[in-house]
Symmetry: C2
Subunit: 274 residues, 2 copies
Amino acid sequence: MQVGKLVEQWRRARMKVGLVPTMGALHQGHLSLVSLALGEADRVIVSIFVNPSQFGRGEDLSSYPSNFDEDLKKLDEAGVHCVFFPSVDEIYPEGFSTSIHVSGLTDTLCGKYRPEHFDGVATVCSILMSIVRPDIAVFGRKDAQQLAVIRRMVDDLRLGVEIHAGDIIREPDGLAMSSRNSYLDPDERRQAPVIHSGLSRAAVLVSKGERDTERICGAVREAIAEASLATLQYLELVDPDSMKPVSKLTTPALLAVAVYFGHTRLIDNVILKP
Amino acid sequence: MQVGKLVEQWRRARMKVGLVPTMGALHQGHLSLVSLALGEADRVIVSIFVNPSQFGRGEDLSSYPSNFDEDLKKLDEAGVHCVFFPSVDEIYPEGFSTSIHVSGLTDTLCGKYRPEHFDGVATVCSILMSIVRPDIAVFGRKDAQQLAVIRRMVDDLRLGVEIHAGDIIREPDGLAMSSRNSYLDPDERRQAPVIHSGLSRAAVLVSKGERDTERICGAVREAIAEASLATLQYLELVDPDSMKPVSKLTTPALLAVAVYFGHTRLIDNVILKP
């Protein structure tokens, strides 16, 4: 049965429908979003779609991890009601020509280094939401800028979907869960928790009264520099809604970071509250 | 009552809902679209919204004709069930940042001379359709490129709205009806039918066997040059779906033209069939 038809039946039976869009290679982070959705909705659909248009040239589209059978097993065990795994041709049929751009929000952080990434994300998420027509959709806070872009787009285009956010789930040593962690070699994996410990150092500084962006970021940069295999791509303190840089911490702000370990790019963030 | 709620009620009563998006200053062209919608749907909503984002710098946003009371009277007489006239702030609330771009289709004709026009059109039409959630929406063939852009966007973004097209309605002397005809001074108005007679000359040539784009367009250019007040902006023979130029008429093609009379820019078109 078409997923749209299925949702229509559920809706007619007055059931609330939740969507969790993923690119597969599921980990505990995804499953926590699923469990959030199951708590909020009567029926939950998880989409698995590795969206080519959100990868730039030279990025890891061709090597992106995939483990479809494992994913299905995990989702079944989690109690998901439907898994939607469209093909690329189904989402982007021949002649497809439309893209959605969210301006401003996408100028900083990842948007600066992955110029077409968020157009790809916004476009595919709008398509998935229009095919599925859920009442709610759940995204993770690890992709904080993505979350802000999706909220803005859903509001602006009146998609009528309530956006919920799930917290970052971490490995015991603090590394934020990510499908891309599987790219790390043992040495890189050992050093990767430095990202989280750097961000935590910022939180400690703030709890002690530090409010100056430069000094906060300086401490994180120092911490990350201690890892010999880490290369910082960006570290920015921004407003969590507008994604605009803030120079002083006066209201809660998002401290977001992207770090390369070899070819593997990892992101993480923390909300700092003055 | 909110228009979305009203449509929900209608839909629950199993009525088919049609939307006719307009910028007001209604003429017989618009009313023919309304009558087409009334023939196809049980309930018809006409939106009146002069969309700032589809006007470029130096274009006629500030002087765009408006006659709201007259419009309401005409729509009432036509038997329309609801008129939706949102304010600019209602469509574009503070912080609005999203735009929709349809590539390829927008490279030729008006798209070449009004670079952001179709982003504005696509974005506002998607918003209007998402607010109203009609089953069908009706657009005029005079704006042939707009029609192609809307069809593409609605398909690509799965808006679930069936797009219907109404034929061009003309004054007795052949001038295509347009709200902008009111800008013409008497001399310009007298010469303006040259646009249609030029296009008709092309149709006659084709009926006599002419298939060469250059010769077809040459005849139209000559015809329009006979009007001393006319300045041709573009004249192109394009594929009616892709809007790509065609050099020989082998399948039905769209001959589209934009002509200035003073500051007034008029467009018209004809489908040529070999």
